[in-house]
Amino acid sequence: MTGAGFSALWSHWRRNPLQLFTLVAGLALATALWSGVQAINAEARASYDAAAQTLGEGRFDHLLPRAGETVGQDRYVALRRSGWQVSPVLEGRVFLPDNSSVRVLGIDPLTTPGGLSPVRMEAVGGLAGFLTEASLFADAETAARVDGHLEGQVVVDPSAAPGVVITDIGTAQALLGQSGRISRMIVAELQPIGLPPLDRIAPDLIRRPAQEVSDVGRLTDSFHLNLTAFGFLSFAVGIFIVHGAIGLAFEQRRGMVRTLRALGMPLGRLVWLMVAELFVLALLAGALGVVLGYLIAGFLLPDVAATLRGLYGADVAGSVRLRPSWWASGFAIALIGTGVAAAGALWQIARMPLLASARPRAWVMARGQGAWRLGALAGLLLLAALGFALWGSGLAAGFALLACLLTGAALALPLILRAVLRLAEGRARSAVWQWFWADTRQQLPSLTLALMALLLAIAANVGVSTMVSSFRLTFVGFLDQRLAPELFITADTPEQAAALEGFLASRAREVLPVNSVETQVAGLPTELFGARVGLTYRENWQFLAQGPDPWDRVGAGQAVIINEQLARRAALWVGDRIAVGPDLSLPIAGIVADYGNPIGQAVVAEAVFARLFPDQAATRFGLRSDDPAALRRALIDDFGLPEGNIVDQAQIKAFSLEVFDRTFTVTAALNVLTLAVAGFAILMSLLTLAALRVPQLAPAWALGLTRAALGRLELRRAVSLAVLTTVLALPLGLALAWVLLAVVNVEAFGWELPMYLFPLDYARLALFALLAAVLAALWPAIRLARTPPGDLLKVFANER
């Protein structure tokens, strides 16, 4: 009985391969986009874990320079002599001939706590070999990149983090040209009693607790959360397709279900067979989806890796590995998606009386009855979205707001479209157009899911592109403010810095020292800057909020300026006082935007900074000049500054914008994929409905409309609905952009971005959406126009 039942159920798919394709492809696409994003996240997290493991981040405290990147090795020696159990580390980047770079990590395995060392040390003869043979340990991908380009024996070590070369600290100092320097020290958990305090032996070092060392994972959480949210949105769009395909298939099989039951198939067995059938299809689609997801992840991962390196300095492997957990999660999401999409249809079948009408209920009517219920639900969700916008706080509330807004709008779509179509019907003059609008309204429920998918895809495109373009515009303005100096120079020593200041006194319009230390302000990690207040600051820096004469007060040492991140996280605003040093508390004179910076920033006058950190001398300077080329020549020819120590403003801007643009390559790619999925949903809906349309169109044909005219009207119908959906998607997309910029961004990154509108971009997107709708509708319309008259006549011959 089971075999016979299964063969009957399966025969439906065999006879309707397009429907089967829609179901499998929809589910595979949904799974692919979701698992692709998950693969990227998993790969990145695995890389962070490997990197953290290398230096015991999260396990051990670290000592870091208060300012600059390195300190002298003598600090390490002094600390060891006074009893401190610390181990030195030197890290830095080495550029390879192909312009890519690797992170070189020099350690001292004799003193590293907790057995931190490459796992394959025996490949070079153990510890002695490691110390004497200039061995370089790296994962297979990195090893292949550096082999032959770095001096030393390259050993493949699978436990090494991607993009990292681990070696002895002496070898690292030679490779990085940092002889006698170290970047940080790892502090062992067990320390002798009665140690002298750190600030007496090494006042230029700051101790970072273990839980604060492993920043990368936390810093990138928001980035990965955004990716996950996008993946979920794409998944939801795909599930709309699956829901539509399953709903239609089950509706068409109502007659079969009745017959099977009439012939003696128990209802319970029938439902289980349907569940088993969907389970098999979900596994098939899940496997396809995981493979597709692997391709998507492989395609996107290099850009994501570049983004994470550019934004957070986190190295991530550039290629995807197929992990078992990833297969499992792909299958799980495919099964869950199928379950969600099919639950309603299965419930209906399970409750359907045996003698219920076998005729497929006009899908239209069945859906129409529930329309008002969905409308009420849409209203509730939109009210909930408003509630989250007004009273919600935290990132979870931001995402809940997004979910309510998008779901509510999608559910409200059929009601709005129905009202518009009714209006059009009422205003139509000719009989054909009256019929056209009425017929379109009748078709609406069958196309609703595809149109909802289109609505979400366009809104996501509008929202995300508005956010990215607003961010870019703001970021460019921000770079112009912050990178006002035409040249940036770096002195090799404080003595050279002092000589440079003298040399530049008469040659540069303004010399702006870049003097900063990392410290704690209001209990948060903050970079404290000492600014030489002058015209550049006064003319270029723009405030988000300010008190009277902010730069005058900062220049006089009476106030401080902080960035938005610090202000929001510490709940500070203009007028509040903050402690910038042990005995110094200053009022906040202004708050500035600081995009892309994960930590707080505070700016005090140069003199105040010098008083707080007397040993800290600036070695980097920003230079203002009316003739930067001449100044550059003078620095090289007359002063003898190496060319590599001078950077043009344009170079930095170009690099920053390149990092920015790569950051959003992933977003743009996901945008295009989501829109493509929505286009696919429309195509599949129209194709599956084409066969059902014949009985509805036959009377119009019999009354005098040609088949070609019917085909053209079908095309117009799809385009009209796509136009209406696009028009409705625009305000939804803008609302989405507002939520992303003013709510999610603030919660995730700590800064709010102004929102700009880009009408030309929206017009282009609308054209793409319409093009997708036309392409999707073209084939079904042509098929309809070519329907043989015999098929149309069968409608009247009662032989269908």
């Binding site: 009957a8 025969s11 079969m256 012939l263 209802l267 045996l354």
Partner: protein, 218 residues
């Protein structure tokens, strides 16, 4: 006695409360007997057929089939009855559109255990379907579709065949042809046959005629 129906009642919910369709029907049917059930529209003919066939449940009374009270059966029990003992031929044919003719004919027999392919060929030949076995129902005429439905029912060798207006969708000549073939094949299997019909011609070919009026047998 193959079928014994006693004091059978059934009502359906209506706008002004329950509407009684069967008001105490008594009926007996022997193995191999053929019966026509006639009556005006709404008299309860189809309802009686559905109750006897285990497609619906009665409000009161008993139906004994082959000595078993089928009104006491649960859904699974009624499904087994339909699979093994009773075959129903519907006015709308109720074929499975995605299965070809051969698969449709074999279907009920497969549900109840297995299909005898020789018998399938015999039935197909007897009903003039042997050239259409690989076709799908949509490409057959109404008469051919009803022949497939008859073949499907008889393939499972049921003890009782119930037919609800089996020729109602067919023209006069085709209807006569289909009915003759159905009667011949039913008599070959020794099954009892109960036909719901409005047609006096159809009713006239049955061994006995029962008239249902306002929920009671006249």
């Amino acid at each position: 006695m193959l079928l014994e129906v006693e004091n059978l009642t059934k009502s359906y919910p209506g706008a002004d409360g329950p509407v009684a369709v069967l008001r105490g029907v008594d009926l007996r049917l022997a193995a191999g007997e053929t019966v026509a059930l006639t009556g005006e529209s709404g008299s309860g003919k189809s309802t009686l057929l559905h109750l006897v066939g285990g497609l619906d449940t009665a409000d009161g009374g008993t139906i004994r089939f082959d000595g078993r009270d089928i009104t006491a059966l649960d859904d699974t029990g009624r499904a087994a009855l339909r699979r093994r003992d009773v075959g129903v031929i519907f006015q709308q044919f109720n074929l499975i559109p995605s299965l070809d003719v051969a698969a449709n004919i074999a279907f009920q027999a497969r549900l109840s255990g297995g299909a005898d392919m020789d018998r399938l060929q015999t039935l197909a030949k007897a009903l003039g379907l042997d050239d259409h076995l690989r076709k799908y129902p949509e490409s057959l005429s109404g008469g051919q579709q009803q022949r497939v439905a008859i073949a499907r029912t008889l393939m499972a060798r049921p003890k009782l065949v119930l037919a609800d207006e089996p020729t109602g969708n067919l023209d006069e000549a085709t209807a006569a042809d289909v009915l003759a073939q159905m009667l011949e094949l039913v008599s070959e299997t020794g099954a009892a046959l109960m036909v719901v019909t409005h047609s006096a011609a159809v009713a006239g070919q049955m061994g006995r005629q029962l008239h249902l009026s306002r929920g009671r047998l006249a």
